[in-house]
């Protein structure tokens, strides 16, 4: 095992060197190679761990960090498998996706150099047991993701999005660093076990505050509302395979962090559960409500990532409440639901991003208002997008339903013996989950039908639209088949999941579950049966339809225009019109900027209407404070006058000030002594 862990960085470095010596078109493959090899190695270890073994080592570390522990438990193993799958499919897809940028040799070189680094740093974060080393790996992850996002940095919008991400991820680092230093000063150890020992021996308020610090840091990464504002910028700016990986994997590292801290920090889990539930329902509902009004396909998907983080959070919250109440069924259902939804979301969201990458490659636009009718030109992409859209809406027989079902069952289990105050809270959570499902239905019927169905809305774009190359569709079909597999045979996956869940619950309880008669597993076979029956009925009805209608006459005609005989592509329903009544109903939550020149008089001249959806939380929480900062700092702009001599002078003044600081402090001390004598 140790040897295998040692090989992984070596592989990475070797391939990094090789990349310089191969010609530009082949570099993608050389970047993919270490991902494949590292994935094989780490997945092997992960499976070995999930079979019931323990992998623990200690590296000698350095004078500063102390010994660095490495531990791969079932939780790490689960995340390793999830991450590897997304990187394997995403990397393969990325090689094809980046072909259209083959003229940007230097940008590509940087991109392919950093891509495997991101994979490696994520794997490292999951297995490290030393907070300082963890922070270093975290930083490597944040910066490599930044480099990947700004691939198209020549466009100012993308560069700005990348910087926004970089700054916000460093705000997250600040919170984690504060927590790490806090632990260090109390226990003088950087080891993860110090967190446990510290929180066992201190009062509740401190442990809660410590958790809050970690939570804020990880929530920024995961995209919990109100820390989500970087997501809708970074995802559209990045190349599609990177967006898929960011949404499928990168934000999940935040979820991993939160779960790890729940394992380590001993505190009042009930308070924790309520807190996480409250923030999660806001995240889930707000995310999907904003997703509905987006015009940019990738931005829409980014807001959906926020929604799904909310669903995962609800699962975690239910699990925490189970921990607080010492209820093993609740723990199992909550954490299993959250972990399964982590996998599910990484599958369908990466698939959605990859397919929208296919759309972008041929149409060169992500504005869904100018798309349409792609189902006939890109049948594979449309089918894959549809599968992912159905799965993300949480509909049976796909995987999203299974994880949401587990969370629902957990919630109802909790409600059945909760007290009055918690009951009302619980019913709000149920309501939120139901609303999220309903909103997601609106959002994805809109996204799918406006992008793929009907006629092309923008008649000016006469670009030749073709299906993506066959080979690039292979990883996408792989993801889609896994989505269906989880939906139809969830039992296999739940059985694997019982291992990481057993870290939270009482191990004896979980082992009693492994028999086939236990509750969650039993439910899974029922779901499996219903999913199969559903598919069976679709096939049966389709068969009967085919048998009966193959003889009868079929005519083609234009769409029935209710008597109007001159239909026009531009008369189709657009995305904005589809959600018009929704946007009107919820206008107090949504912020939509409109520029309007209405139709006036009997003979109207030009009229126009433009709407730009914006984020109310971003407006209040980010934009306004920044404007305030700017107006204060703006008064100091006279310092920045571009004259080199003055800049050198500033340096000298600064150094001089530093030198006199001890002298001045001494004077102050003396002054106080004099005061005391008086």
């Amino acid at each position: 095992m140790e040897v295998m862990l040692g090989i992984m960085p070596a592989l990475l470095v070797l391939s990094q060197i090789f990349i310089f010596f191969v010609s530009s078109p082949k570099r993608g493959y050389f970047a993919y190679l270490p991902i494949v090899l590292n994935s094989i190695l780490s997945s092997y270890i992960a499976v070995w761990v999930l079979l019931g073994n323990q992998a623990e080592f200690t590296l000698s570390g350095s004078y500063i960090t102390g010994p660095i522990g490495i531990q791969i438990d079932a939780l790490s193993a689960w995340f390793i498998l999830v991450f590897n799958f997304t990187f394997l499919t995403g990397g393969f897809y990325g090689i094809f996706y980046m072909e259209s940028y083959s003229d940007r040799v230097n940008n590509l070189l940087l991109h392919w150099l950093v891509f495997p680094v991101l994979h490696f740093s994520l794997l490292t974060i999951i297995i490290l047991q030393n907070t300082l080393a963890f922070l270093v790996a975290w930083e490597v992850m944040a910066i490599s993701a930044f480099v990947l996002v700004i691939f198209e940095g020549s466009k100012p919008v993308n560069l700005k999005a990348g910087l926004n991400y970089l700054i916000q991820s460093h705000v997250s680092v600040i919170f984690i660093t504060i927590a790490v230093l806090w632990i260090y000063f109390r226990t003088s150890s950087f080891d993860f076990s110090a967190i446990s020992t510290f929180t066992k021996n201190t009062n509740e308020a401190q442990t809660l505050l410590l958790f809050l610090m970690f939570f804020l840091g990880f929530a920024l990464k995961a995209g919990f509302v109100p820390f989500h504002t970087w997501l809708p910028y970074a995802h559209p700016a990045a190349p599609s395979h990177v967006s898929g990986i960011m949404s499928g994997v990168l934000i999940k590292i935040g979820i991993y962090g939160i779960l790890r801290m729940i394992l380590l920090i001993h505190t009042n889990y009930l308070v924790l559960g309520y807190f996480i539930l409250a923030i999660s329902i806001i995240t889930g509902v707000y995310g999907v409500m904003l997703a509905i009004i987006q015009h940019n396909l990738k931005r829409l998907l980014a807001y959906h990532s926020i929604e799904n983080i909310g669903i995962i959070g609800i699962g975690i919250g239910v699990g925490c409440i189970g921990l607080g109440l010492n209820n093993n069924i609740l723990i199992t259902l909550g954490f299993a639901g959250a972990l399964l939804h982590t996998l599910n979301h990484s599958l369908f969201k990466s698939l959605l991003f990859f397919t929208s990458g296919n759309v972008y490659s041929v149409t060169h636009t992500l504005n869904i208002e100018s798309l349409g009718g792609l189902v006939k030109k890109m049948p594979h992409t449309s089918l894959l997008f549809l599968v992912a859209a159905l799965a993300i809406t949480g509909l049976p027989p796909f995987n999203g339903f299974v994880s949401e079902f587990l969370i629902y069952i957990g919630l109802f289990e909790w409600l059945s013996y909760a007290k009055l105050s918690t009951l009302i809270f619980g019913i709000i959570v149920v309501l939120a989950l139901v609303l999220i499902g309903g909103f997601a239905l609106i959002c994805f019927t809109k996204a799918f039908s406006v992008v793929f169905l009907g006629e092309e809305r923008n008649s000016h774009s006469n670009v030749h639209i073709n299906e993506a190359p066959k080979a690039s569709l292979v990883p996408l079909y792989l993801i889609a088949s896994l989505i269906v597999a989880i939906g139809v045979f969830p039992k296999i996956f739940i059985n694997v999941l019982l291992k990481p869940t057993s870290l939270f619950a009482n191990p004896n309880f979980i082992s009693s579950l492994s028999g086939t008669e236990s509750i969650p597993v039993n439910l899974m076979s029922a779901i499996s049966l219903s999913a199969l029956m559903f598919i069976g009925f679709v096939v049966l009805i389709w068969g009967i339809r085919w048998l009966i209608t193959r003889e009868v006459k079929k005519t083609m005609h234009v769409t029935w225009g209710c008597g109007y005989v001159e239909p026009n592509k531009r008369m189709q329903y657009t995305a904005s019109s589809f959600v018009k009544s929704y946007a009107k109903l919820f206008k107090m939550v949504l912020l939509i900027f409109k520029h309007e020149k209405p139709v006036e008089k009997v003979f109207p001249v030009t009229a126009q209407y433009e709407s730009h959806p914006y984020d109310r939380i971003e407006h209040g929480l980010i934009d306004k404070p920044i404007r305030g900062f700017k107006s204060i700092l703006g008064k100091l702009t006279f310092l920045q006058n571009g004259r080199l001599q003055l800049y050198i002078l500033y340096g000298i003044v600064f150094i001089g000030l530093l030198l006199v600081v001890p002298v001045i402090t001494e004077w102050i001390i003396r002054f106080f002594e004099v005061l005391k004598q008086i």
Binding site: W542, T555, T559
Partner: protein, 301 residues
């Protein structure tokens, strides 16, 4: 198993009875009770016209829609006997599998590129989203009252005894009835017989469907009526023996159909922008049930 058979039998007559009630109320003789079924059988044999704009989605949508309704039917129990599928939390499956059908009927409508059908699809998506919370709160409250989470056990353990249980039962029946109206796009929400496409929801979504596909959609609609009717019946029959339960089933279904016919004869459709308020009111009624259940279980201290 029994419930599925009963629902299918009811579905054959249900829409016919509604139509008959409406004709009698307006002083006409009206078509026979079996006319809707005859229509469907005729449609199954007819040829179809497809729009040039449509794709395989449009052809697949009615099939998935009907399959989803059939799956929902499988879950519904009848008194003592379970549905063909029954497991803890099957009412969640019920709601989500119906949503699956809705998803397909919406994208099927959008596939035609017609602005009218887009309008209907948009309304369908919004209104069905509003209707879901009421169903979940109702079933969640009943689950809490009985301590079970599968349809059959919930209904079997629902003993109507005290005044509050009667209130809960009546309110529950009201919520389910209104949900049936919304799901089937009937009167106060939607008017299937209006002459103007702009004011329709469901009917305008299927403007371009014809032949076999239209038959499938109509069949699904008939089944949906009977499914919701069966749920209402289940609220009251408990576990009484079959010789009483089966006549009671048909009687209640018959009364429901007549009631719906009367509503449609004497009420006007709401204005489209009032529909969300109406549907949300349903959620508050469901919340009333929730609080009623709270008092029943003694959680109000």
């Amino acid at each position: 198993m029994l419930s599925t058979l009963l629902i299918i039998v009811t579905a054959i007559f249900f829409t016919g009875i509604i139509n008959r009630t409406k004709s009698i109320a307006s002083g006409r003789k009206g078509p026979g009770v079996l006319q809707p079924i005859k229509d469907v059988i005729r449609l199954f044999r007819k040829g179809s016209v497809y729009s040039k704009t449509t794709s395989w989605i449009f052809q697949l949508a009615p099939t998935v829609y009907l399959a989803s309704v059939i799956m929902a039917m499988m879950v519904v129990p009848f008194g003592k006997s379970k549905g063909i599928i029954s497991f803890n939390g099957d009412f969640i499956f019920f709601a989500y599998v119906l949503a699956m059908g809705k998803f397909f009927s919406i994208i099927g409508a959008m596939d035609t590129g017609s602005s009218f059908e887009g309008m209907g699809a948009s309304r369908e998506a919004l209104f069905s989203m509003f209707a879901e919370p009421a169903f979940f709160i109702l079933m969640g409250s009943l689950a809490m009252l009985t301590g079970n989470t599968s349809f059959q056990q919930i209904f079997a353990n629902l003993h109507l005894g005290s005044y509050i249980t009667y209130a809960v039962g009546a309110l529950g029946a009201f919520v389910l009835l209104m949900l049936a109206m919304i799901e089937n796009s009937r009167m106060p929400i939607d008017d299937p017989k209006t002459h103007l496409e702009l004011t329709m929801i469901h009917e305008v979504m299927i403007l371009d469907n014809s032949g076999f596909d239209l038959g499938l959609i109509l069949t699904a609609g008939y089944l949906k009526f009977a499914i919701y009717g069966a749920l209402i019946v289940n609220l009251f029959i408990g576990t009484i023996s079959y010789e009483y339960a089966i006549p009671a089933f048909f009687l209640i279904q018959f009364l429901l159909a007549v009631f719906m016919g009367l509503i449609e004869s004497f009420m006007a459709r709401f204005r489209m922008n009032h529909n969300p308020q109406f549907i949300l009111t349903l959620t508050s009624v469901a919340l009333l049930i929730f609080f009623g259940v709270l008092t029943l279980v003694g959680k109000f201290v």
